[in-house]
Symmetry: C2
Subunit: 189 residues, 2 copies
Amino acid sequence: MTRAGLNTQRVTEAGADLADEIGFTQITVSELARRLDVKVASLYSHVRNSEDLKVRIALLALEELADRAADAIAGRAGKDALIALANVYRDYARAHPGRYTAAQYRLDPQTAAAGAGPRHARMTRAILRGYDLQEPDRTHAVRLLGSVFHGYTSLEMGGGFDHSAPDSDQSWSRTLDALDALLRHWPRP
Amino acid sequence: MTRAGLNTQRVTEAGADLADEIGFTQITVSELARRLDVKVASLYSHVRNSEDLKVRIALLALEELADRAADAIAGRAGKDALIALANVYRDYARAHPGRYTAAQYRLDPQTAAAGAGPRHARMTRAILRGYDLQEPDRTHAVRLLGSVFHGYTSLEMGGGFDHSAPDSDQSWSRTLDALDALLRHWPRP
DNA sequence: ACATCTACCTAAAGGCTTTAGGCAAAAGGT
DNA sequence: ACCTTTTGCCTAAAGCCTTTAGGTAGATGT
């Protein structure tokens, strides 16, 4: 009887793929075992428990997202960079809904700090180099951008903008126009 | 042996309270039964199954939120109304994290349309009466506002803005200033 | 060929979900 | 008060998911 050749890495990737297919919240160790054609107990050599599996999928998704974001903003500035970064999140969420949901999974502070979370914050901050904002407004703007990227994407994923005109692509595009305008004319306190 | 006197309504409310204490994702029928000091099977007279319980909690939260939002925007306009509405969401999320998470629970379109979801959209739209926006920009703005309210609140709830200066209250306040400015000077296509 | 990992297995205990069938408290009519 | 109906809660049981313990055989290196 030949082996499947699993290790923690592969189990995590298979978990992420499975999440994209059936939804992150539906992930169970049993379901993943079925998918990998392996007995449930076998997975417990690669993953501490069900929670550990979810955390690993979350960290994987955060890292993949950060890599794509870094690619997207390299060599761009201002509105170009803003649009490129924003689209990374939205496109990733549409292509990999399970992974994207996983990226929102609540991690304890230590784990979060050790993962790719901080890279995301730095990249959003980097976008603002193209605009004339000083601290603390820069931080406020980072938080606003994060909120819009995540908020829009997650409402859209939840079907909130389906079945109503105008279509979501247009709102997205105009939302980015609006954010760009806002960053260029950020109000004084 | 005297009865607990439960019905669907009370079970749902107890479920919502429990969600606020232990987190919406931790909700199980068993846990709720323990909380109510009742055997698990008994709850299945009041609730079809675990999913049904969660949906009911979600609908309850959406309704409570809509009621508070309606109170908040009554008799206000412009930036006042914007701030009041935004604070309803944020305050509710902080006071009732379990219910707030429940309000984000994905409902099937039929259930969603029958619940308080559409009321929320109408109220956000009502806020924009105080600003000079025509369709389709009005809809784009509704979506942007929803994204920011939900996005900011959910990142804040997830601890994303902890342990970094300036504190989240300030960013929130300045974010609302920025949104107000944006709505007053919405960019042309 | 040998020892050593290591990937996978069987077995079993415990918890959550859900259905079926029953009993007794509450509610309502006469 | 008495009887009937309703209904709120129960016990029992089956099925699936999680997790641990202990065992076996394929891969790896000497």
